[in-house]
């Protein structure tokens, strides 16, 4: 019989990365074609612009089992839609600060500007973020027990 108490799976975090179509998603592409590695547990969701990301998306990602959420967009001033990421910046600054106020670990949420030419940066950012979240452990505070498997 299997001893459940000794069976320990190594923790690999689920990371959701919202990437804007014009910069960060292309940055991820470049990272791939340049043979730069980033952890496979980063799930990229392509959005037209970083400002497309509704706070609800971020919370829903946590609900569905994400351990960390990272939002990537064009550098301020480089938005394909001219001003989209300026709005993102305000919203997300407030949202992340607010989540921390509610007791959600601040390391679980991040926003990075990654351009289409920054494949290496994309890879570095993802590696760093995955490392941070792995050290932090599982997301237990913003999770929905109903969607967790086998618990």
């Amino acid at each position: 019989m299997q001893d459940v108490t000794t069976e320990k799976k190594e923790f690999t975090p689920n990371i959701v990365a919202f990437c804007c179509n014009w910069c960060s998603y292309a940055g991820a592409d470049l990272a791939g074609s340049s043979r730069l590695t980033y952890p496979a547990n980063v799930k990229i969701i392509r959005v037209p612009c970083s400002c497309r990301v509704n706070p609800m998306f971020i919370l829903k990602a946590f609900q569905q089992g994400a351990d960390g959420v990272i939002l990537c967009g064009c550098h301020p001033g480089d938005c394909h839609y001219v001003t989209g990421n300026y709005y993102t910046r305000r919203r997300i600054a407030l949202l992340y600060s607010f989540l921390n106020y509610m007791g959600i670990e601040k390391e679980r949420t991040r926003l990075e500007w990654v351009s289409a030419a920054e494949g290496a940066r994309f890879s570095a950012v993802m590696n760093d973020f995955v490392k941070t979240v792995t050290e932090l452990g599982e997301n237990k505070r913003l999770t929905d027990l109903r969607v967790k498997e086998g618990e």
Partner: protein, 325 residues
Amino acid sequence: MKDVELKMIERAKELLASGEVARVIGWKKGEFYFDPVPASFETVEELDSLVYNYFCGANLSKYLIEMSKKEGKTAVFLKPCDTYSFNQLVKEHRIKRENVYVIAVECLAKLDINKIKAQGVTGVTDVEVVDKQVKVTSLYGEVVLNKPDVVLEKCSVCQKTHQVKDEEIILHERPERDVNRFAQVAELEAMTEDECFAFWRNQLSKCIRCNACRNVCPACSCVKCVFDNPASGIAAKANDDKFEEQLFHIIRAFHVAGRCTDCGECSRVCPQNIPLHLLNRKFIKDIDSFYGEYQAGETAEGKTPLTEYTEGDTEPNDVFKGEAK
């Protein structure tokens, strides 16, 4: 307060009788002395039941969304804090300003019946306030309470003044005060993540999703609310999971960020006494510190902090490093 009430009734009667307005929005006696309810008066006779006492905490601005679309003008009594909500709704094109006649009424802080009951006083039939003393007459006799102990939370830190008025009924001047409404928010910010989480779990687990905070909130005026969408998975009245409680309150606070005037209605109506104002005040405090001081509803024009930007805005990652401007 009785003299103000008489003046209000007299003025409302004049306005209705002259045909200047088609209806008056005010408060009418509820089941008890301490629960006056918002009401619309359309005839001079009805106005005899208008009341204005220390329990008229309800914000009447939101009712104007519907009322200002009706035929004829609507007169409304607004307290200082209500005028901010009014301005904000005018700014968002929810109220037709030209259809509303605003009568600014004085407010020397409203009382919280729950706090009075907590002091062991029930069956309240009358209240008189002299300076910092609240003389409560109840079915069981008279008691004198300390005013700061029994005022509504929103009133305890209020520094608001009338922002809109077509005319005013102010018989007593309010003394100037210096209070910090962010004291509690700062206390929470100083706590560790674990303590914050425990605090909010403790508070939000009381939530019964009655939606009273949403329904009373003047900023929550969407025709179709995101929480009414059955496909959202969060339309349930009962929480299935702690996640839903958090989601509801995080999203609701975010949706009113930059538009919340801190009128405090959410906390006042919460049947579970959750300090919901602390959620909104966190956003207000952050907006003030990141983007410069901003009071929603101070004017009926201009942009809100979340619908504008500057090139050198605070970076979200800097917020936690103490580098935020």
